[in-house]
């Protein structure tokens, strides 16, 4: 409460209550750093270009597995899509498979030097996103994506390809835009 101080003759205002912090800051946990960072054993924090190259080769060891497994997945998904063209109740299953396949290829294509596959898979993923089924034309668009991915994989087209491949990606993207609706 504000009061008059008889000694000094001043009006004294009470101290404002201290504002408390609304954030708790917890110091960094340094256990990992203490037990793993040293100057004797292990890998340099800043790897040399040669060491990075060796590490990249470790990643590329799985490249053949990628080609084999994704090739198999592409063929299986293509079968599901073709069956779904004839048989309406099978369409949700085909869409789920196409969605999973698109995500896997998008995620891993670029890692194994197939960025073109990542591009096409991304187009396919956007096209199948939030769908539970598809009409015939939409299934054909999915099939075209699968066929393109298979051709790239079978031909081992690494990198972004030539103008022909880029034109194919552009054409597929246009197709997805044209047949995007209805989305159900």
């Amino acid at each position: 409460m504000t009061h008059y101080d008889w000694g000094s003759g001043a009006i004294v205002k009470p101290e404002e209550p201290k504002k408390k912090k609304n954030v708790q800051i917890i110091p960094a946990q340094t256990d990992l750093k203490r037990k793993a960072v040293n100057f004797i054993k292990g890998f340099d924090i800043n790897l040399s270009p040669e060491q990075l190259e060796e590490l990249e080769q470790v990643v590329q060891r799985s490249s053949e597995t990628f080609v084999r497994d994704i090739g198999k997945d592409l063929m299986e998904c293509r079968k599901l899509v073709i069956n779904a063209l004839r048989d309406k109740p099978k369409r949700p299953e085909a869409i789920t498979a196409a969605n999973d396949l698109a995500y896997s290829v998008k995620a891993l294509g670029g890692t194994f030097q197939y960025p073109l596959m990542t591009q096409i898979a991304k187009s396919m993923e956007i096209f199948v996103a939030d769908r539970t089924t598809a009409n015939e034309k939409q299934l054909l668009v999915i099939q075209l994506h699968i066929d393109s991915l298979y051709v790239i994989l079978a031909g081992r087209v690494t990198g972004f390809g030539s103008t022909v491949e880029q034109a194919t990606v552009a054409a597929l993207t246009k197709l997805t835009e044209r047949y995007a609706e209805p989305r159900e």
Binding site: V23, L32, K33, K35, N38, F39, E54, L55, S104
Partner: protein
């Protein structure tokens, strides 16, 4: 003399339903010298491992069957049942658009690695988690590593020091 990281001292848990992706991460860690690497396909299995074993770093895919990687992260950071609220989590995902990155960041991700990734990117996330640990921030709406990585000049109110 250069500082080094001895990966044999660190235990890892890979949570990824994709066989190839999990294998790539496993191979990379094994090459770096890590000897304790667990692989599981789902968050439920991950919780089982985290409750029974000492795991130092979790490397988790966003897209998982059942509970997704984001829900897994949410439970890890915010649930009273969490096996370890402070564990570093590296999120691997092909969802690389900005909205996904910010969502993961705001749920307390330690590092985010967009797929397709290369060895250099994975290594840099590991180094960051091990050699440059960040303090944790606990507010009413956020629990996780400090999201302010860069110290920049800011003229507005300091929300961390005063009540609003």
């Amino acid at each position: 003399m250069n500082a080094k990281i001895d990966f044999s001292k660190i235990s890892f848990l890979i949570v990824d339903g994709d066989k190839i992706s999990a294998q790539v991460v496993y191979d990379t860690l094994a090459y770096l010298g890590a000897s304790h690497i667990q692989r599981v396909k789902s968050p439920n299995n991950a919780f089982d491992v985290l409750r029974t074993e000492k795991i130092d770093i979790v490397i988790c895919e966003w897209r998982l069957r059942g509970m997704d990687g984001l829900e897994f992260l949410d439970v890890m950071r915010n649930s009273t049942n969490s096996p370890n609220r402070f564990i570093p989590v590296i999120m691997l995902t092909a969802h690389s658009e900005m909205r996904y990155v910010t969502t993961a960041r705001d749920l307390g991700i330690t590092e985010f690695l967009a797929k397709p990734f290369n060895a250099k990117a994975l290594y840099s996330r590991l180094v960051s988690v091990i050699a440059r640990p960040r303090r944790f921030i606990n507010t009413g709406t956020y629990f996780g590593p400090d999201r302010r990585r860069r110290q920049v000049q800011f003229d507005g109110p300091d929300r961390r020091s005063l009540d609003e």
